[in-house]
Each structure stands twice: as C-alpha cells, then as structure tokens.
C-alpha cells in the first residue's frame, strides 16, 4: 500500500497540482502575533534541488517545520502531490513520502549505526508491526547498501555517539534514504563539516537526488552554487527573490539584505 502510494504517477493525478511535487501557497504562521512566515508561496518540481537561503531569522527552518507538520500553519496551504499536508499528522506526512533532516545531527546515540538505519526502514511502523519486525535479508541488504553510500560501511556495529560530527550528519541522511522519500528536506547538511567532508557530502547529495526532489537550507554559498537548480531567498518571513543562483546573486534586493554582508 505504501509502495503504491510512493510510486504513483506524480503528474496529472489531481487538477490542483498539475505539475508540481510540492506547492506551497500563501503559507503563514504567526507566533503570538509575530509572523515568522508571512504569505510565502513557492513550487518545487519533481527531481529538482531547491535551496532556501536567507539571513538568520528569515523563517527558513520554520518553512521546513511547516511542511513536515512539526509546526501547524496559521493560514495557507501545502500541497504535496495534490495532498494537503497541513491537515495530516507528522507520521502520515512521512508515510506520504516526505523526509526531513534536522539542523543538528539528530541520531540515536545509544544505538548502533545499523540499528539507527534499521529504525528508518519503512516497515513495521505500528506497535504490533514493530514487535514482530524481522531483520531479514532485505533489511540487511538495504542497510548495507545505504551504509556504503554514506561512507559508514565499516562503522555499522559502532554506537552512533562515537561517530564524528560529519559522520553523524551522513548517518541522518542515510536514515532518510532508507525511508526512500520522494521529497527530501535537509536543514544545513554541511554545517560544521570540514572541507573534505563537504566535498563528500556534495557528492553524496548528487548521488541521492536521482528520482526525488530535495529542499535544502544552506548558508555555504559555494556549496549552494554546486548543488542548486533554483534558489529561493527568504527575508523576514517573506520570499525576497527566486530563480537560478546566477539571477539571485545579481538581484539588488538580495545583495542588500544578505549576500552583500
């Protein structure tokens, strides 16, 4: 059932979403009157890498929180493949095919790398399912495959707390890959990484975007230029500019509030 949902044709199913994988329209959220996100609209195509940039407090992370259901919208709509996400629970949004990586590496310190990845395997997500979950060949093969991609093949039996910062970030990306989401949201995936780790991460991202859309928040302009198909600039909760990196870089409004510094 899940698989059928994940692999259903994206295009032309619903008249509401003729071609976008994700359509965010007039999205607003206010915390005690302060509008952290104010009338934001943007559209993400299938297989697109979209990067959201903007100064601190622009509402970037809040936008991701709204899409994955962590924060409830005050107004506006988020349509993913024609389904309204604002009314779904967090777990239902994940099961619909949206994966989210948090800003600080969010992994389970007390479990091994293998077990971290296993928990994200999209099977046995109910209480009973988890009680009767079997670690079979399919699970093992998939975990080893992903561990290979995220450069952690030799750390599978290690407790996750002993990984380096960069390895933890990769592990969380790996946990998302196991979920096989169609929309992958990454919050500052290279923050705090060494130059070598950054290059490896860019390589990893280029590998995993095949067949999915990625929404990335990032500050590192070099990295953004490397990976972005299009860029959305947020400022004080509103969309300031949008387009190719080239266009955005030369937009005087963007230069003034963000890149000029």
């Amino acid at each position: 059932m899940n698989a059928a949902m994940l692999h259903s044709p994206i295009i032309g199913e619903s008249p509401d979403a003729p071609k976008f994988l994700l359509a965010v329209e007039s999205l607003t959220v206010s915390f005690d009157g302060f509008k952290a996100v104010n009338d934001v609209s943007f559209y993400v195509d299938p297989n697109e890498i979209r990067v959201i940039i903007g100064p601190n407090g622009a509402g970037k992370t809040t936008v991701l929180d709204l899409i994955c259901g962590r924060t409830k919208a005050s107004a506006g709509s988020i349509k993913y493949k024609g389904t309204e996400l604002t009314k779904l629970s967090e777990s239902a949004i994940v099961q619909a095919g949206v994966g989210r990586k948090f800003q600080t590496p969010s992994i389970y310190d007390d479990l091994t790398v293998f077990e971290n990845l296993e928990i994200s395997f999209p099977r046995g997500r109910s209480v009973f399912g988890a009680l009767t979950f079997k670690r079979d060949g399919e699970v093992r093969d998939r975990i080893e495959e992903v561990a290979n991609m995220i450069f952690l093949k030799d750390q599978l039996t290690e407790r996750a707390e002993f990984l380096s910062h960069g390895q933890k970030q990769w592990l969380e990306i790996g946990m998302l890959l196991i979920q096989d989401p169609e929309l992958l949201m990454l919050d500052e995936p290279v923050a705090g990484m060494s130059v070598g780790e950054r290059i490896k991460t860019a390589e990893l991202l280029n590998q995993i975007i095949v067949g999915r859309s990625v929404l990335v928040i990032e500050h590192d302009m070099k990295f953004v230029e490397d990976i972005a198909h299009r860029v959305t600039v947020l400022h004080q909760g509103k969309v300031l500019s949008e387009g190719s990196m080239e266009r955005v870089k030369n937009d005087p409004k963007v230069v003034e509030v963000y890149l000029g510094h």
């Binding site: 777990s91 009680l131 979950f133």
Partner: protein, 390 residues
C-alpha cells in the same frame, strides 16, 4: 583490538544477528532462576520465604519500570495504582469467597463482605458481582490496569505531555486513587483494606504449604514476565523506545506515532505491576491502600533505580536487595530506615545512574569476559561493546 575483516556477506549475517539472548544474558537468567527457585527455598524457613515472595511481587513493578522508564524514558510515579488494581481485583474475589452466607451468618446481611455490613450496606454493589468468577477475576487483573493505563497514556501522550509533567500527573493519580479507596469505606474496606482472605477456589491460601506453592507460582510468573520483557527489548519496538528516549522528534519524523509506542510501554508496565499486585494479595493475604499511594509508588521506582533501570535482571536484584535491607534495618532501627532509603536513592542517582547493573557492566563483566576468553579462546568472538538498550 582490530579483528581481521571477514567477507562482507558472512560478516553481516553474524554481526547483525539479533539473538533472543546473548550467552551472558542466559547465564544471568540461569543464576536468577536458580536463586529464586532453588537456593532461597532451600535456605530460608517458611516465614522468610513468604517474605521473599512478597518482595518478588514488587519486582514485577520494577520490571515494568525498566521498560517504561529505563528504555522508554517515561517515569511513572504512580505504579502503585496498577499494583493496587491487580491486588484489589484478586482481593475482591478472595473476599467474596470468604464471605459465604455460611461464614457471615452473624451479620445483619449475610453473604456480603464484613466491612460492607459494618457500613450499613445491605446489597453487594454491582461492580463486586462479577468477582464471584475466578476466570473473570484473572481477566480483570490483566485487562483493567491495561485499560486504565491506555486511557491515561492516550490522554497524556497524544497531547505530548511527558517528562516531569507526566511523572507529577501519575503521582496525582496515585494520590486520588488512595483517597478514593479510603473514602469509600463501604465499597472498598477503606484504610484497613480488604482483609481476612481465606481460600482460592476452595484452596486454603493461609497454610505454609500454600505459601510455598504460591512462592513458586510467583517465581515462575516473574521469570515468564522477564522473558516477555526480553522479547520486547530485543524487538524493534525495544529499540524504538530507546530511540524515542534519545530523540523523540527523529522517531516521529521517521514515520512512527510516538504516542502509541509510549502508551504501549506504559500499559505493559501497568500489566506487570498488576500481576505483582495480585500475587501480593495471594501471598500476604490482604490488600490495603498503603500499597497504592505515592510512597509505595516512589519506593518501587527506587527498586528499579538501585537495581539498574536499564537492566531487566538488575531490577529484580535491586528489589530483593532494597527490601532485604529494609527488613533488616527496620527491625533494628525503624526510625532510621526512611532516611536510609532516601540517602540510597540520592547516592544511586548521583554516583551510579545505572544502578547495580551499571556497576556490574562497567567493572565486573569486562573481567569476566576476559576470563572466559582466556578459557575458551576459540569460541569467544569479538564482543560488540555496549549493547544498545543497555
């Protein structure tokens, strides 16, 4: 410490195997079972054995707390509620059997429990009636606390109430239940509880031989519960509980309904506690609100903390040890015991957060494994350090 790399496929099937119990855990289980089922019955007299049987009923609660608090991070300070629910269900059945018309013919209304008669109640209340049946009683001991925990758990966890707030609310519930029982004397026996219990389906439970049999039933049930808890711990659900304790949001955004998993852990702890409560009533011969309220609930948390809140076996040893100490201390210095208990709890939390099991795992086990390796170098494989849930 570098072991030679094995070919990927064979390495993966051996390293990532998830056996029900590791060899050391089987040894722990064997030792515990031997002590409970053989050593103690052989060395203790009937009175002391019955006392240990009573302690072991608290071990059920501690076991539930390991799952709920240790693994899941949900601290309940109201486990006495569930211990009491199980205990009262059993006591109601036993009391009805002891209150036959024959036995109670001097009462103004024969055939109802004596305390009801003293409180001018002339008819058996409706909720007492089903407890004439033993199968219903046994079912109620399991279902009632599970249902109660399910309602509390769903109400709290769906609203994302957790941590300290949850602990405080469970404590309040324990207080409410005590007040309810004490206040409704005519229906519950009040502060004295339900006493003067005699037979279980015609079998006199007050004799030494009955105590002896009940002790073994209790020990057997405890080991069954440990095995079930071990199954839960080893399942993916067990790892999800640990993951939840660590990074609740990550679990939620991996597609799990966190509230359901927390509710499950809480319900399981409640059922374990209730089984303990029922066995308590059978072995001790009465049930009273003094095993329901805040103080016993917190004491039960201390048992789990001292034994090691992450270790199923540790919880049982902790319960035995604290209760043993309590009995011997309170026989000689009754007024000092509560201070001792408080000091013990503080010491454990500050110095040994993982209790006895933690001390064992840090200091004793490494030496033991080294010895085992020396004795059987061929068999002992590289031990992956720090199993996740521990």
């Amino acid at each position: 410490m570098d072991s030679p790399k094995m070919p990927t496929s064979s390495a993966s099937s051996s390293v990532h195997d998830n056996p029900f119990m590791k060899p050391m855990e089987w040894v722990s289980l064997a030792i515990l079972a031997a002590v409970i089922l053989f050593v103690l019955p052989m060395v203790l007299d009937a009175f002391r054995l019955n006392l240990v049987g009573k302690y072991l009923t608290y071990a059920f609660v501690a076991l539930g707390l390991v799952i709920c608090w240790g693994f899941g991070g949900i601290l309940s300070l109201g486990q006495g509620c569930f211990f009491g629910l199980g205990g009262y269900c059993m006591a109601m059945y036993l009391k009805l059997e002891a209150s036959s018309v024959e036995n109670t013919k001097i009462q103004s209304t024969p055939g109802i429990p004596d305390f009801m008669d003293w409180n001018q109640i002339t008819e058996l209340p409706w909720f007492w009636k089903p407890f004439h049946s033993l199968p219903f009683t046994i079912l109620a001991i399991i279902v009632l606390p599970a249902f109660f925990a399910f309602v509390i758990g769903t109400a709290m966890f769906r609203r994302r109430v957790g941590g300290t707030y949850f602990a405080i609310i469970t404590q309040a519930i324990a207080a409410i239940l005590t007040i309810l029982i004490v206040g409704q004397q005519g229906y519950t026996g009040g502060i004295n509880g339900i006493t003067d219990l005699r037979t279980l389906n015609g079998w006199d439970i007050r004799t030494d031989s009955a105590h002896n049999i009940l002790y073994f039933v209790n020990g057997g049930l405890l080991i069954a519960c440990i095995l079930f808890a071990q199954y839960v711990k080893k399942s993916k659900l067990g790892r999800i509980l640990v993951a939840m304790r660590d990074k609740e949001d990550r679990v939620r955004f991996s597609g799990y309904q966190v509230a359901s998993f927390k509710t499950f852990a809480f319900c399981l702890a409640a059922v374990f506690a209730a089984i303990g409560g029922a066995m308590f009533t059978l072995q001790v011969g009465f049930m009273s609100p003094s095993f329901v309220g805040i103080v016993p609930s917190i004491e039960m948390v201390i048992y789990a903390a001292v034994g090691g809140r992450l270790s199923l076996f540790g919880a049982v040893w902790g319960t035995l040890l604290v209760n043993g100490a309590k009995t011997s201390f309170s026989e000689s210095f009754p007024e000092l015991w509560l201070f001792g208990l408080g000091a013990l709890f503080i010491a454990v939390v500050l110095a040994f957060p993982n209790g006895l099991a933690g001390i064992y795992r840090t200091y004793v086990e490494p030496r033991l494994t080294r010895k085992v390796k020396v004795l059987a170098p061929a068999e002992a494989g590289p031990l992956p350090h720090g199993t996740p849930a521990e």
